[in-house]
């Protein structure tokens, strides 16, 4: 009798270990983020060059001709010709909503990428672009636009590849009988500085102001003109990166205990660190490919989430998956509608929001920097 109760008790606590980490702060953060995403999405679908009332926009969003038609979804997600739809539905579903989806994907990717890099480097001020990723992507963007303009169609792919290439280079530079967080960050600075100079140098060879604008849009991050094609491009990689990030939360938590403890617990620390960085770079690359280099989201979101749910990565990663899209969708509302009809690159808005947030944190918190 007592035996059964004790088994029940202990299996209860195994269950508790599986789901007990979901707490009130995480649930409220996720709900609040969802509200922001939905509200931002509603604003995005309602306003624009073709104006409609909020009621009309909502009816278009819930148009059964789209929602319950697998054929339409197939076209959205795999490409092809859309069947006939009403004009409003077409504008909402084919132009305005995909931009919201892309913003959400980019936000989620950047947030988990930043969260992972902050654990790998054990530095709260690390961002998805810390290990040379942004400078590598930026350099390849400019090279493509200026020198190899024939390859412009592959720009998203090349930008992502540039980021990954720079990351590998950073790792090679940092490696000396293994790496350390400090060496990695320093190598990131080295590669970043050189690539940044090359980038700036390339601007002098541009004659066409249109190319300059395009280059700036890519290097500051912009969602202008994104549609289902960008969703199709980013979605598979995002799913992989997010799945791996969720599955690796325990590894990330052990990394936070410090290198020595992680190693004495039997973690093959170099392998794990490289693999996790790889996941973070994949997520960053997926967002670069569709939106360019959007700054601050990957830095601010994990920080903000950590302040709410604590540093446990099980909660942190989940929180980032909700808060990242919220910030990105909200920022894109500003980028698209603030100076209507001129659209700003969304990276300009995230920078304008992110800077003051850090100022606020710096004033409020005593020791900022340690995870």
């Amino acid at each position: 009798m007592s035996g059964t109760t004790s088994t029940e008790q202990s299996s209860g606590s195994v269950l508790n270990r599986l789901f007990g980490w979901i707490d009130g702060s995480l649930v409220s953060l996720c709900l609040a983020s969802l509200v922001v995403v939905v509200a931002g999405g509603l604003v995005q679908v309602s306003f624009g060059a073709f104006s409609m009332t909020i009621g009309e926009a909502w009816r278009a969003v819930f148009d059964p001709a789209v929602i319950f038609d697998p054929q339409v979804w197939q076209v959205f997600l795999l490409g092809g010709e859309l069947p006939d739809l009403s004009r409003r539905t077409l504008i909402v579903w084919n132009i305005r909503l995909p931009r919201v989806f892309v913003a959400a994907l980019v936000g989620a990717n950047l947030a988990i990428s930043g969260a992972i890099f902050q654990a790998v480097t054990r530095n709260e001020l690390a961002s998805p672009f810390i290990l040379g990723v942004s400078s590598g992507a930026g350099l390849l963007i400019l090279l493509t636009l200026v020198v190899f303009s024939g390859l412009a169609a592959y720009l998203p792919l090349l930008a992502a590849l540039g980021g990954m290439f720079a990351f590998v280079l950073v790792y090679l530079i940092a490696w000396k009988n293994g790496t350390s967080p400090v060496r990695l960050v320093l190598a990131g600075v080295i590669v970043g500085t050189v690539f940044q100079s090359l980038q700036t140098g390339l601007f002098f060879f541009v004659d066409d102001i249109g190319v300059v604008q395009s280059a700036i849009a890519w290097t500051t991050g912009s969602l202008t003109g994104t549609d289902w094609e960008q969703v199709r491009m980013a979605l598979p990689w995002s799913i992989i990166a997010i799945g791996l990030a969720l599955g690796s939360s325990r590894q990330l938590n052990v990394l936070l205990l410090g290198e020595q403890t992680a190693r004495s617990l039997g973690m093959s620390i170099e392998k794990v660190r490289f693999a996790l960085s790889g996941v973070a770079v994949l997520a960053a690359a997926a967002s670069i490919a569709v939106a360019g280099i959007v700054g601050f989201v990957g830095l601010v979101v994990p920080h903000l989430v950590r302040n709410v749910v604590g540093s446990d990565y099980k909660r942190l990663v989940v929180g980032c998956l909700f808060a990242g899209p919220a910030l990105m969708v909200a920022a894109d509302v500003g980028a698209r509608l603030a100076l209507n009809p001129i659209q700003l690159p969304v990276g300009v808005v995230t920078g304008l929001v992110g800077g003051p947030y850090f100022l606020y944190l710096m004033r409020k918190q005593q020791n900022i920097g340690e995870v």
Binding site: S10, S11, S13, V14, R17, L18, N177, G247, S248, R250, Q251, N253, V254, L256, L257, G258, Q260, T261, R263, S264, L265, G266, M267, S268, G310, S311, D312, V371
Partner: protein, 293 residues
């Protein structure tokens, strides 16, 4: 004492016999050398920043099922030696054997299932709870994506119980006193469920109560589960009371080793610690400095 020992290959047996007669603990098997759980052979250890080797040690044995204390002044290489035994620092030359097998042949996780190490310094996120920390001790027993199972749960409960941190299990590490957090970390290594446990100065900076709690936990683990322990201790009198076996180090070399009674002598205190002191056994060892430095 030490002249007699140097170059005497049988000294371990002699000590073992004295040990057995002294307090009745049978630590010698049929007159043969007592079995080592962990052996360091011809070790030369250095850090990337140092030119000279920090530790040179022909042979060190950590006897199975006993508590071995490493003592010596600051900078004598105790922690360095412990790190190399725990596979945290690879030696320039020489090798370390765990259960007769070179530690380089162990896979990282397999090694961590056999040998646990509690480092001198450890930091953790301040919002981590004690229970979550202890669960991290199960890391080597779980595969990459594996969830907790019944074994993990039992090992964690046992560790929490043994370290006596039940009452603070839901507290955050950042809100604990130094002594409490040290016990939480000890619970983490206990949850690792290893046969060999290495502890680097687990009692330094703790008040007397927590020092004794830590040592008691280790002693209990050794007696009840037969865990082999090697521990770096600062207080030589404490080490002499607590350990079955002492290893004294000086300037990166082993000065003497054996049961405390034979190692802790006035000569050792003068040579190694540069302290003129009287050593009395009443029956526990007492060290009384003869005059101020």
């Amino acid at each position: 004492m030490s002249e007699q020992q140097s170059g005497d290959s049988q000294q371990m047996v002699q000590h073992g016999e004295t040990d057995a007669t002294a307090d009745g603990r049978a630590s010698v098997e049929n007159g043969s050398t007592r079995e080592s759980a962990l052996t360091g052979d011809a070790l030369e250890l250095s850090y990337p920043t140092s030119e000279e080797p920090v530790v040179e040690c022909d042979r060190i044995d950590i006897p199975r099922g006993e508590i071995t204390a490493l003592v010596g002044p600051n900078g004598s290489g105790k922690s360095t030696l412990l790190k190399s035994l725990a596979k945290q620092l690879s030696p320039d030359t020489g090798n370390v054997y765990l259960d007769g097998k070179s530690i380089t042949e162990y896979d990282d996780k397999a090694f961590a299932r056999e040998l646990g190490l509690l480092s001198q310094q450890h930091d953790s996120p301040t919002s981590l709870t004690v229970e979550d920390l202890v669960y991290h001790g199960r890391y080597p027993h779980r595969s990459f994506f594996e969830q907790v199972n019944e074994d993990d749960h039992e090992a964690v409960e046992r560790a929490i119980d043994l370290a006596g941190v039940e009452h603070i299990r839901d507290k955050q590490i950042g809100n604990l006193s130094g002594g409490q957090s040290q016990l939480a970390w000890i619970a983490m290594v206990l949850a690792q469920d290893t046969d060999v446990l290495l502890l680097d100065e687990p009692t330094t900076y703790l008040d007397l109560h927590h020092q004794l709690r830590v040592l008691e936990t280790v002693r209990q683990l050794n007696e009840e589960r037969g865990v082999t322990v090697a521990v770096v201790l600062h207080d030589i009198a404490q080490a002499a009371r607590f350990a079955d076996y002492l290893v004294a180090m000086q300037d990166g070399e082993l000065y003497d080793w054996g049961p405390p009674r034979e190692v802790v002598t006035e000569e050792l205190l003068a040579d190694v610690f540069r302290v003129e002191a009287a050593v009395n056994y009443t029956p526990d060892p007492e060290i009384v400095p003869k005059h101020s430095l």
